[in-house]
Symmetry: C2
Subunit: 590 residues, 2 copies
Amino acid sequence: MPSYTPPTKEMQFLLHDVLNASAQDIEGYDELDRDFTNAVLEEAGKVAAEVLQPLNVIGDTVGCTLENGVVRTPPGFKDAFDTMREGGWTALDCNPDYGGQGLPFLVSSAVTEMFSSANMAFSMYPGLTHGAYSAINAHGTDEQKEKYLPKMVACDWTGTMNLTEPHCGTDLGLMRTKAVPQSDGSFKVSGQKIFISAGDHDMSENVIHLVLAKIPGGPEGIKGVSLFIVPKFLVNDDGSLGARNGVSVGKIEEKMGIHGNCTCVMNYDEATGYLIGGEHKGMRAMFTMMNEARIGVGMQGYAQAEVAYQNALEYAKDRLQGRDVTGTKNPDGPADPLIVHPDIRRNLLDQKSFVEAARAFAFWGANLIDRSHRNGDQDADGLVSLMTPVIKGFLTDKGFELTTAAQQIYGGHGYIEEWGMSQFARDARIAMIYEGANGVQALDLVGRKLAQDGGKHVMAFFELVKTWCKENDSDEMKPFVEPLKKASKDLQAAGMYFMQSGMKNPNNALAGSYDFMHLFGHVCLGLMWNWMAKASLEALATGASDTEFYETKLATARFYMARQLPMTGTHLARIESGAEPVMELAAASF
Amino acid sequence: MPSYTPPTKEMQFLLHDVLNASAQDIEGYDELDRDFTNAVLEEAGKVAAEVLQPLNVIGDTVGCTLENGVVRTPPGFKDAFDTMREGGWTALDCNPDYGGQGLPFLVSSAVTEMFSSANMAFSMYPGLTHGAYSAINAHGTDEQKEKYLPKMVACDWTGTMNLTEPHCGTDLGLMRTKAVPQSDGSFKVSGQKIFISAGDHDMSENVIHLVLAKIPGGPEGIKGVSLFIVPKFLVNDDGSLGARNGVSVGKIEEKMGIHGNCTCVMNYDEATGYLIGGEHKGMRAMFTMMNEARIGVGMQGYAQAEVAYQNALEYAKDRLQGRDVTGTKNPDGPADPLIVHPDIRRNLLDQKSFVEAARAFAFWGANLIDRSHRNGDQDADGLVSLMTPVIKGFLTDKGFELTTAAQQIYGGHGYIEEWGMSQFARDARIAMIYEGANGVQALDLVGRKLAQDGGKHVMAFFELVKTWCKENDSDEMKPFVEPLKKASKDLQAAGMYFMQSGMKNPNNALAGSYDFMHLFGHVCLGLMWNWMAKASLEALATGASDTEFYETKLATARFYMARQLPMTGTHLARIESGAEPVMELAAASF
């Protein structure tokens, strides 16, 4: 059976040694001293390791079932959800006006990672609820907020997001679900939505669906889309539950993974809905929390790689197979442990060097979101908007790749379900797809974010890297700064290529969008390893007692520079080959 | 539901335009004219598309079950197996002395690819039988051959390979299964074997297990391993079936994929076994057919990518989503098909340019095996031995990567089981693991094959590429030759680095073994695209009527050169970073 150890020490290192959180001038950050965050992380870690992780395999094997229109979650899920609720774990960064704890998004993100590593399918129930909460909190009327949010913050009621229809996912302008206005100001919502995570279940009293639909007579396409609150049970004015609404589960999808989360086909048949965020302003309301949601999915990517790495490492230390070619390491045993073999180490370090930098990158993103939301910092908002598709796309692609790399350490034992590595890979796969498939993330990055505000934010990113390199020109930082400089030069060259050749033909930029997203990701992780190396060198210089921890960080940073960062050259070469190799074939000739 | 169209035209192009098979001076190749191979491929394609492919999904969803010690295959499998048998499809390249058709391995490989694309789990039953047949054919006594081979060639009896035990897979020297000699010359075999594909089932009268075991008192480790024939039912001298032998199925493993193939735990309890290949010569007997078996697994890797690509392409042409940014392509529809989008094309071309070159590479490998086996050509044997770990490791890694890329084209529909893309990905995953995990392939390549016969074979490979580049220095070949030269230079630099620094410390070579395998793979596929480009230019110059086919080949070749081959630079950079980044961390510090 797989296990999970919450990486609280790693998180504390990032929060304090690297990000120096409590010294940042962000509202509420002054509370974030080492003791406080340690207490939160330790307690959350217990829930993750002791409550959620033991249900991960059963969630996969039993899955959700639909019985007479009612969804049943796997055994143990309801009790675990009650534990989460009672501990206040669903309310960490929520609005205190509605029962939330008002903690920074940075702190709740760290907790989210642990819950996701422990049980990704389970963590989606509070995750989706949080997304729906955010939309109502940002765009609901006071009455709507008072009616729904206290129950949603407590997860007495859970939430969903209904976007996709059978014939449209990315291109929501094609949607057919209709919302017909009624004389009392409500709407009758009719249509079918698919792939609705946490669409229905037996763990909460009510489910609050947020549904995108078109009001007849409105603008064509995406400009005519509005957002509606459609509760499973209507809510009376006194807050009690009223009649069952016209929404039902058509079926539960059979999926590759995340079986513990019910992915539902939802049928709306003149269901009563309440407009939120204004007529035809549905996409704006939906996109409000997109940065948060996409960073959350990026975290799922590396969170699966983290737990898979932990297990692969244990296996590599335990499993005896073959001998170290440079000399026996385990003379009393029949063979040496796998970890003596260079290619096993190469694989493990690919995983380790990714996961630790990915966490730093996601934490930095969460930090910028706090700076944007709490301090109203437009530059932080622009920078995190730029990086969000990279966090989502790059971290989930690499997260899946490295989860399957961890599976590979087990040989045949990785392919059978008994050891749990297959589930990690199957679960991680979805993160590349939902919340905007990664190709769409690349399109968002290159087609929209690069040019946003006149390219201001990408210039700010380049400036940030340049300043870092200039200010850290010491001998001991050189092994980290020099590779970063080279990688950043590749990124700038790619950006320059897009500017120049994309003017002539936008396909010159779009054909390289996916490579650009990965190139950007490598530069960001290279920067993260620079930050972590610097923090480690400082800790060692000031006499930190845990020298092994910091020396290990430096060695892992060196590995990333030597073995991962060179990838930027290949991405640049592909990008600079332009549109022609991609566009020249007629569709019929493929 | 997914579909499959046998790529017979692609195969004919390789057999005749590229490899010019019927003109090769290999015994039996003179028969391989266009009409003959076309007839074989068309008929095999019908079996693949009409008999095997329709059972692929049911094989996955129903799987195999163990009832009172008897394994039941999914509904329809037995009838399909009878069809295969009656059509002689299990006997294509087998020894005519025992009922085989004696066709070249090249031809049977093409057929194997189709069966594997259509139904990978099913195709393993005849596949394993063929492996066992090969071992007995090469190492059995005349009596053993006459007793077992006719039935195995006809697949009235199927075969298995029993290597792995719970505590040892790669390191077979640790094995515990014992074979105790009996006075009649037979042995009593006792022990447990795991991960036995096709270990037992209801489609044949008997199962002939080939089992590795140790004869007590023999040499320690791998040198004391012998190979035994252990039939499920003992075979009487007249060929009729006798008593049930002491071998039983412990359980069927739950796996990530290939559910249609029963992966069994096999328990041997004083089962009667017959030595094959001499005492303590088990590994030699087992390795005889290793090149063939590993090329077969390499084919499984790209065969799944092929069928996944076919389906992704259809989806990309059908699914309407978004608009071409350079101008609407489908003005009468609500949106343009996915295939107008540059990143969708980039993804499809990644798949297409891989699959077609992978097929060429595997066919070339099969061709070299024929040259080695049929003409006794030692150089061909050396070259294919060198390339076998590349065919197995690189083609299965990339095969899985590109199968998941095809899955990505479907967005959310790729993650649900309904569309079949998840199965392709889950099935393809095993090919990276079995028949020697890909890390072991890399070790075999760098630790053994490079230096084999004084490095003669890798020098021959370099010479082959160099000669090709020199002889094809024309303007029209330059776009293909120049990138190949650069890639080959990277490969030679990596080889040089291994020679020089590996002498000082073997870990300098082993730490780069995985990258070297991929670097080698890219150079081989670059060479294949050169061959295919040359053949296409010649066909066009000599007035071939199907210009679109050859123009498409040239465009796909250009894509590979522009978008895939640059990867060699990154692999070289990683290799040249040497052992230190990989080896410096103590195992306890990971």
